[in-house]
Amino acid sequence: MSASVVRWECGVCWHVYDPAEGDPVWQIAPGTAFADLPPHWRCPRCDTEKARFIALEGDSTLSHPPPGTGRAEGDPSAALVRAYEAASVSMRDLPVYNRALTVEAIGFHRREDAWLGIVVTPWFMNLVLVPAMARAWDGWGAGSRREWRFPSGRYDFITTHLDGLGAVQTCSLFSPMADFATQAAAREMAVAALDAFLAPDPALSEPPRPVDRRAFLRGGRG
């Protein structure tokens, strides 16, 4: 892969230029490397000049496997549990840690190019997406947001980098977990939440009514 995968961050406002997304403000097509941006290009958010941008660390081309070499991963449940169990060491003495609960990955199944399921830990319950191609999302910065469309609506997921898994995406459902007295209760909630998440929302399956220009100009409510 070329240098086009490297993302650059504004030194003033931390806006990130992602070549994969391009820049709608300056009408830069997706796939344009930072180096190929026109010289008059400035930060779309704060108008800082191009020279003030910094290449994001850990974003080097080396961390990206060439397309096609990522092998299709099996169920990521075990790796997720391992990663969060490692984190639980530093969480254990905090008041947000619910000692009745343990780390558990629930309901992971393949949906197109990602695995979807719920991770329950003593300090959170999140929807988690893991790329089916190993480390396919590693170029996404930690904390960056992506919108996903599911039958029940649109959701923002936040990128997080986990040991042994690389970048995965999470969406918070509960945190802290003080409401759950037992692991069984948390598990029951996780299963119910996954069901609700995947159930189609009738309000969304109906396409929005387009604005009728004629009716609108006549003073109707469109």
Partner: protein, 363 residues
Amino acid sequence: MPEPQETFYDVIRRQGITRRSFMKFCSLTAASMGLGPTFAARIAHAMETKPRIPVLWMHGLECTCCSESFIRSAHPLVKDVILSMISLDYDDTLMAAAGHQAEACLEETRRKYKGHYLLAVEGNPPLNEDGMYCITAGKPFVNTLREVAADAQAVIAWGTCASWGCVQAARPNPTQAVPIDKVIFDKPIVKVPGCPPIAEVMTAVITYLVTFGELPALDRQRRPKMFYSQRIHDKCYRRAHFDAGQFVESWDDEAAREGFCLYKMGCKGPTTYNACSTVRWNNGVSYPIQSGHPCLGCAEDDFWDKGSFYDRLTTIQPLGIEGTANEIGGYAAAGVGGAVVAHAAISAIKRARKSDDDDRKQD
């Protein structure tokens, strides 16, 4: 019979704003409230046909940070439009008139638009010594507030002062400052807490009230659901570090430079309902956590009395705002009732979902 009032559209056309800009404002406003494109047309229609609703803006014990935030609404057009859209008939901080002239405006609007004006309250009334700790126009503020509220259509409580009491109501509260819902009982009140509230939130709330002539959907604490249904923690960009147990342990350590979670430094994000982590501040540039400081929880009740801003949060209210009486016991045992769990699961999914039109409408 009151004389015919100008519509918002008449006013902005008179000021030389083009129809194109007007339509752009309508779609921006719809977007800021998370409403779909069909709502832009509804907003445009309402602004073209409905007379401007007079707004009286009163100041009690406060620091004017709400006004400061409001007049800095990021988009210049939005600011101009908002200030001309609401017929701001009285605001003792912003109006040109002063003294008896200003108070005459207040009287006149009250008389002329009885029952048809909005009352926006910034700050709160002190009750001690019969309200002597806050005197406006020679009268205790609490008396004026009660009188003006009596003829209002609805009341907006700007900021944490009017909503919860804020610093002047913190212990020991020598002036007995109280939130406005302790003195106004018979009017619909919308609370827009925050110290100050986010400018975009303020403009969106007032636009909603003025254009639709009805209250937006409110939660149990009377806050607009469209902005106060998620905790800072739920949508924080540093959330991944919390999940992974990566915390800032002291100011300026390596973890702070890495942008790890600020929970151990006293961040109140896990208990604070506000839109900071999604709407952000200063035209979406940043918010406290993004600039490296823990959330103070300024949009929450009693945030001054909950210990130091830098004390680690130890008591965590288990209940989300969507919680119902059934959920108060927690999800204690598996099988307490499938319906309770299913309902809570659906609420959680709805909270996580990006809002669509159906969530915005009044329930």
